[in-house]
């Protein structure tokens, strides 16, 4: 599943960039993300993703690895996790990019998400819809957080 999202933030690019690397504040914007910790600053992180669709609840202990980093411009990362209780795995390839536009910063995400195992039985349409909602909420939370205290 491919996802693409852009959000325009009324804040300088440096501020947005620094915010992304401030793990605690950044993670607070990711819906369902808890227990985030830094394993190796700038490279490896761990978190638990909890999501719910009606009666179905998944909990993915997730490891996040930063693969490429281009200062103030781009981050390429990979996240993967498994929920052993329901026998499902997920893998996310994430491309985050920043650019300036009319004095604002455009924060863009391109995510490629693979879901394997029983969770996939819920159906592609439902999972895609849920992931879209999560990404939307996340983008809006980042925007609020950065514009709110600028």
């Amino acid at each position: 599943m491919q996802f693409q999202k852009e959000v325009e933030i009324a804040a300088p690019r440096e501020k947005v960039w620094n915010f992304i690397w401030d793990v605690d504040r950044f993670i607070a914007c990711v819906p369902g993300c808890k227990e985030a910790k830094t394993i190796e600053a700038g490279k490896k992180y761990a978190a638990t993703m909890v999501e719910k669709v009606g009666p179905f609840k998944v909990e993915f202990p997730t490891s996040i690895e930063v693969l490429e980093r281009e200062e103030l411009t781009r981050i390429k990362a990979q996240a993967s996790g498994a929920d052993n209780k329901i026998g499902s795995r997920m893998k996310v390839d994430l491309d985050v990019n920043l650019r300036e536009q009319d004095g604002k910063t455009v924060l863009g995400f391109i995510a490629s998400v693979d879901i394997l195992g029983k969770l996939a039985a819920l159906g592609h349409g439902i999972i895609k819809r849920k992931a879209d909602q999560v990404l939307d909420e996340f983008a809006q939370a980042v925007k609020r957080r950065l514009e709110g205290d600028s």
Binding site: V53, G54, P55, A121, L122, H124, G125, I126, K130
Partner: protein, 283 residues
């Protein structure tokens, strides 16, 4: 394989509601179990407690008077498909119930359970919307009525509060001029698209047109965009407008692409089914 759980057997709706309120997300109402137990056996969902409501016999009653048909939430699909009263007063719902899933599901699955589980590819919610049904939700501190169209929130999600139980489905008793039909189409176990249509037809033409689409998107929904195209029209005018109304209903259905068909395909089927459902309702 089912994991261990505790079975609670309340003797009243108030007691069931109190249990739901006390245990929150770790408890779930258990009626027919045709959806819930399947999900639990697959390991997709787990609850520490199941609250068995099957012994609340009052919730299995069906009655009708001049104004309202009342169906207890615990009525099984089989009870409804064999109800002479339903066959006479609401043939569209009677026919729908005859075609829910398969005989094993109909034997134990309940109408209330079907609605509360809010599986997107279910039939009854769609027709109940077109029939103008209201759903009665009860908890220990009171009861309220929810319009069928306000009941479904999203995939597997309803507007019931955590300690509320669906106890009854109320449908206005049809008048002589009332027409309704529900049609579905699919090639997998569950339908890809379901369309319900209901209206009053008299000398002046169509009035109070209600059209609902289910299965195509995350939850069944009314499609007022299509209803206005038929409302107030004569039968002949409405027939000429059906293609346009079908396209409009398809676009408004919020169809999503999945194994049951692409968005375009489902939108097209909505149009086809609307035409056929309309013809079925008027004949």
């Amino acid at each position: 394989m089912l994991r261990r759980f505790r079975l609670e057997e309340p003797e009243s709706v108030a007691e069931a509601s109190e249990l739901l309120g006390r245990f929150g997300d770790s408890a779930k109402v258990y009626a027919g179990g045709t959806e819930l137990l399947l999900a639990m056996k697959e390991g997709l969902a787990h609850y520490e407690r199941l609250i068995n409501v099957k012994k609340l016999k009052k919730l299995s009653e069906v009655s009708a008077d001049e104004s309202t048909i009342k169906i207890g939430a615990l009525c099984t699909h089989h009870e409804l498909e064999t109800s002479p009263m339903l066959q006479q007063k609401l043939p569209a719902l009677h026919k729908l119930e005859q075609n829910v899933a398969n005989v094993r599901v109909r034997q134990v699955g309940t109408l209330g359970g079907n609605l509360c589980f809010a599986e997107p590819h279910a039939d009854p919610g769609t027709l109940l919307m077109a029939l103008g049904a209201t759903l009665v939700a009860e908890k220990s501190s009171g009861r309220r009525e929810i319009a069928a169209e306000d009941f479904f929130v999203d995939v597997y999600e309803t507007s019931l509060e955590v300690d509320e139980l669906l106890t009854e489905i109320r449908i206005p008793t049809p008048t002589e001029n009332f027409r309704s039909a529900y049609l579905k189409f699919g090639y997998l176990e569950r339908p890809s698209v379901g369309v319900a249509v209901a209206f009053n037809l008299n000398g002046g033409g169509l009035s109070e047109v209600k059209i609902a689409v289910g299965c195509a998107g995350p939850a069944p929904r009314r499609v007022p965009e299509a209803e206005v195209l038929l409302n107030g029209k004569s039968k002949e005018e409405a027939e000429r407008t059906l293609s346009q109304a079908g396209e409009s209903a398809g676009r408004a259905s919020q169809a999503i692409s999945d194994l049951h068909g692409s968005q375009d395909y489902k939108e097209h089927i909505v149009g086809v089914l609307l035409k056929r459902a309309f013809q079925s309702a008027v004949t």
